[in-house]
């Protein structure tokens, strides 16, 4: 016989063959035993969890000559025909290709004919989420009350796309993703039957990368066999999957700890050039950091971490060099990188940006990195390493921190000092406010005060009068809205500028005509008013 893919060859043939899904199997078996078979089932769950296979086994169990039985013989005529997909009583419909109302009408017409050879007529409607709404609705009546000999099995990966009226008419079974142990067990079984030797580690790597899908796992196994022949090592699996060596993860973490951008970029370059699987690499790295975190935080981790002893020793070493907050921040950044990678056409740039971010976390201004730096500082204070030198000098940094932060720190210090120095409003210049204006707006946005931010965006600070900051708006309505919330604006200003300022909002319409009486009198609107009411202007005064 010609070669058939392993996942087709080793499709489970009876209930005991199905990996995982213990509850579902038990329920179905009991239903058969107690003769309480429902007329409509819905099997849902992610890919490769056994939906279609279970449906077929159910069909066999019902139509076997000895049936209905929980142990279909597999040898009788109906069983064989079902296995080869040519039984007349088990109708497998590809709902994704036959998704219109006409196909369902056709099905409805044929439902009334009794089964020809078995006890039941089983309709397996696969990928049922792709049916059109009309088709679903046309199915409803039949699905609710089919003839006694008809069983519907609907299978889908996306149950949320089904109508509630369909869901309520079916017994629903949710197939869960398979555990790594389940997959390993099944793969091991297949390998033994096929005469393949594979190391335990290799199996583990396959199982981990299958992400809970048995078909994925067997596909990978198949491919690895094509690649490596009958003796398979862990490294063969890694090569086929494009995995990054664990060694590399240790190296990269070292690089992150040492903040060596050179090596970091070189390493990324290597990964890209080798065509490694970037998303997988990020996931692996996150997993590595997770291991570090667990070792750091938990007293006994043997059950949670699945690594060789050598690796554990190395992990232990690395753990001492990092704080958990820092690990958490790294994971956060990596999560974002992973998300961006899914959409980009330039994975290399995204990876590079990611690594720069990870290393330059000190120079980042996001909340996460502030927290990170704060904890580092706290730790240092706790250890009493800080030496405060002359405050006129911008150097408070203690010796050991200097080399790693040499670029950013003087600047930071400068900025921070500025905030502290300005105590009285008189020192504050308009330029200072303008300089920080964007930051202030950003702050509003981060505080989820979008409205205020949007209103302030088209305003501009125009002058400082004593302890008042005057902000000019182009629209009256904006001015009024901000005026109502001027206290919260003032408090933010204080946070950024270190001075308590009162906020005064004025309406400028157009910046030039503020203040000048002639301009206001010349304004077309004013003139129009004068004309319509046939009046004259008595006095021009500011509303404030």
């Amino acid at each position: 016989m010609a070669y058939v893919s392993l996942y087709r060859k080793w499709r489970p043939q009876d209930f005991s063959d199905i990996a995982g899904q213990k509850n579902i199997i038990k329920t179905l078996e009991n239903a058969i035993r107690m003769d309480r078979i429902a007329h409509a089932y819905l099997f849902c769950g992610s890919r490769g969890t056994g939906k279609t296979s279970t449906a077929k086994i159910l069909a066999k169990a019902l139509n076997c000559t000895e049936g209905p039985t929980t142990l279909p013989c597999g040898d009788c005529e109906p069983c064989k025909k079902i296995k080869n997909n040519n039984s007349i009583d088990v109708i497998e419909i590809d709902a994704a290709s036959n998704r219109g109302i006409d196909e369902i009408r056709d099905l409805r017409d044929k439902v009334k004919f009794a089964p020809t050879e078995g006890n039941y007529k089983v309709y397996i409607i696969d990928e049922v989420h792709m049916l059109t709404t009309e088709a679903f609705n046309a199915l409803l009546k039949t699905l609710e009350e089919p003839p006694g000999y008809v069983i519907f099995v609907l299978a889908t990966t996306e149950p949320h796309k089904l109508l509630p009226t369909i869901l309520s008419r079916c017994q629903r079974f949710d197939f869960s993703k398979l555990t790594i142990e389940d997959i390993i067990q099944r793969l091991d079984y297949i390998c033994k039957k096929e005469g393949i030797t594979i190391s335990n580690e290799g199996l583990k790597v396959i199982a981990r990368n299958a992400d809970g899908g048995m078909r994925d796992a067997i596909s990978i196994l198949d491919q690895v066999i094509s690649f490596a022949g009958e003796n398979i090592e862990e490294k063969d699996v890694s090569v086929v999957l494009g995995l990054v060596d664990r060694e590399l993860l240790f190296d990269l973490t070292d690089i992150l700890i040492e903040k060596n951008i050179d090596q970091g970029l070189a390493l990324i370059n290597n990964i890209v050039r080798e065509g490694k699987n970037a998303t997988q690499f990020i996931n692996d790295l996150i997993n590595h950091l997770r291991n570090l975190l667990l070792i750091k935080e938990c007293s006994s981790v043997d059950k949670l971490i699945d690594l060789t002893d050598d690796d554990k020793v190395r992990l232990d070493k690395q753990v001492d060099e990092v704080t958990s907050q820092r690990l958490l921040n790294w994971v956060d950044i990596l999560k974002k990188v992973g998300y961006d990678l899914k959409r980009t056409s330039q994975p290399r740039v995204i990876l590079e940006m990611g690594i720069i971010k990870l290393i330059n976390i000190d120079k980042d201004r996001s909340m996460d990195s502030f927290l990170d730096r704060l904890t580092q500082l706290e730790d240092k204070i706790k250890e009493g390493k800080i030496q405060v030198s002359d405050s006129n000098n911008n150097k408070k940094v203690e010796e050991s921190q200097k080399p790693e932060n040499d670029q950013a720190n003087p600047k930071t210090q400068l900025e921070e000092n500025k905030v502290v120095r300005i105590k009285s409003p008189a020192d504050l210049k308009l330029e200072d406010v303008k300089e920080r204006w964007e930051d202030i707006l950003d702050y509003f946005r981060q505080q989820k005060k979008m409205r205020l931010q949007a209103l302030l965006r088209d305003a501009e600070p125009i002058s400082i009068d004593g302890n008042k900051l005057i902000i000019a708006f182009e629209h009256e309505f904006h001015k009024d809205s901000v005026q109502r919330e001027k206290d919260s604006v003032a408090s933010v200003l204080k946070k950024f500028l270190g001075v308590s300022l009162k906020v005064n909002c004025i309406f400028s319409g157009n910046n030039e005509d503020v203040g000048s009486e002639d301009d206001i009198l010349d304004h077309p609107l004013v003139q129009e008013v004068v004309r319509v009411f046939n009046g004259e202007v008595v006095k021009v005064s500011s509303l404030d």
Binding site: R99, G229, S345
Partner: protein, 339 residues
């Protein structure tokens, strides 16, 4: 013609050849890798090799089957390409009807689906059942640039073959020996290709591409002193190249990436090596944060343009205005650092 025509991609070649030799052909393959890595060549050679009368694990190029394939009239090698913007369900339905017929003259009937990531949702779903259990005489090869745009249910049914970027050394050697380029030009083209051999070939064969690139780079360099009004005219310029907008944005992205790399004082791995002077000049004024923000901005714009049906002109204008603002905030501020 044979697998040897494919530059690099040793892993892919090995897997395919070994499965040919061991007669372990899967019924479905998914070739994944960025465009320009040679997926189409590999798929074509593979389909030839499957039906070749002479050679066991490659195509001989001499037998009648191979010759027919080369002349594009092999009855058992079928190609499916996007019709317009996507592959439609009707194309897949047609495949399903045809695929049940036995091959006319060969062992296997091979379907190559180009741009598999361009299948629309209906088409992709309707392929599932066929992809899982096609008739024993059929092999389906799917090609896709981005694995994340393929349904997980499709991936799980296929043997995944990954295509990598080719090492720069290999590309350089190849273009020098095949096209007799001088060292300097070969270096430039190698850097621009970024490990994609076909991109390198296009650059050599189509002189206009390089000129086009110079034009775009000049435009990018002119961003320096630009004001808000000029930004709109830049967008007009960009709109003239509507079809290539995604590549142009990539070019802009790479430019800023180069600036960033240079800013970090790493001269290695620059892409636009021939513009080193300008890059150096410009990178001095920037701070890291600003460059990061700009790269993020361009990347987002590009995603929006490619992924969603948006008004191209508006999104480009917004991008340019934001870019100017970022420049105002981050460029030439001395050592203002990250605040």
């Amino acid at each position: 013609m044979s697998f040897n025509d494919l530059v690099g991609q040793d892993l892919a070649k090995t897997i395919l050849k070994r499965s040919l030799k061991a007669d372990r052909l899967s019924h479905a393959y998914l070739f994944i890798g960025e465009s320009g890595l040679g997926k189409d060549i590999a798929a074509f050679e593979f389909s030839k090799a499957i039906n070749c009368h002479e050679s066991e694990d490659d195509s001989c190029g001499e037998c009648i089957s191979c010759r027919k394939a080369v002349n594009n009239n092999h009855p058992d090698i079928k190609e499916i390409r996007p019709e317009g913007a996507s592959i439609k369900i009707d194309q897949i339905r047609e495949l399903q009807q045809e695929i049940i017929y036995k091959p006319y003259e060969s062992k296997k009937k091979v379907y190559i689906i180009y741009s598999g990531d361009k299948m629309n949702i209906q088409a992709a779903n309707s392929l599932l059942k066929t992809l899982e259990e096609p008739p024993s005489h059929a092999i389906i090869i799917l090609l896709a640039d981005n694995v994340n745009k393929i349904l997980p249910t499709i991936i799980s049914r296929c043997q995944l073959i990954r295509f990598k970027r080719v090492s720069e050394l290999l590309i350089k050697d190849n273009i020098i020996s095949n096209y007799g380029l001088d060292e300097k030009k070969a270096d430039l083209i190698t850097a621009l290709s970024g490990g994609r051999y076909k991109v390198a070939l296009n650059l050599i064969e189509d002189q206009e591409l390089l000129q086009e690139r110079d034009r775009v780079l000049d435009l990018i360099i002119s961003f320096k002193g630009i004001d808000k009004v000029e930004a709109f005219s830049v967008v007009q310029d960009l709109l003239d190249d509507r079809e290539r907008i995604s590549q142009i944005l990539d070019q802009i992205l790479v430019w800023y990436r180069d600036l960033l790399v240079l800013k970090l004082n790493k001269e290695v791995n620059l892409v636009n090596i021939d513009y080193l002077d300008q890059l150096e000049k410009e990178s001095n004024g920037w701070n890291i944060k600003g460059l990061e923000d700009i790269i993020k901005l361009i990347e987002e714009t590009n995603n929006v343009i490619r992924g969603i049906n948006v008004n191209l002109q508006l999104s480009l204008e917004v991008m340019m205005l934001k870019l100017i603002r970022l420049r105002g905030k981050n460029y030439d501020q001395g050592n203002r650092g990250y605040f």
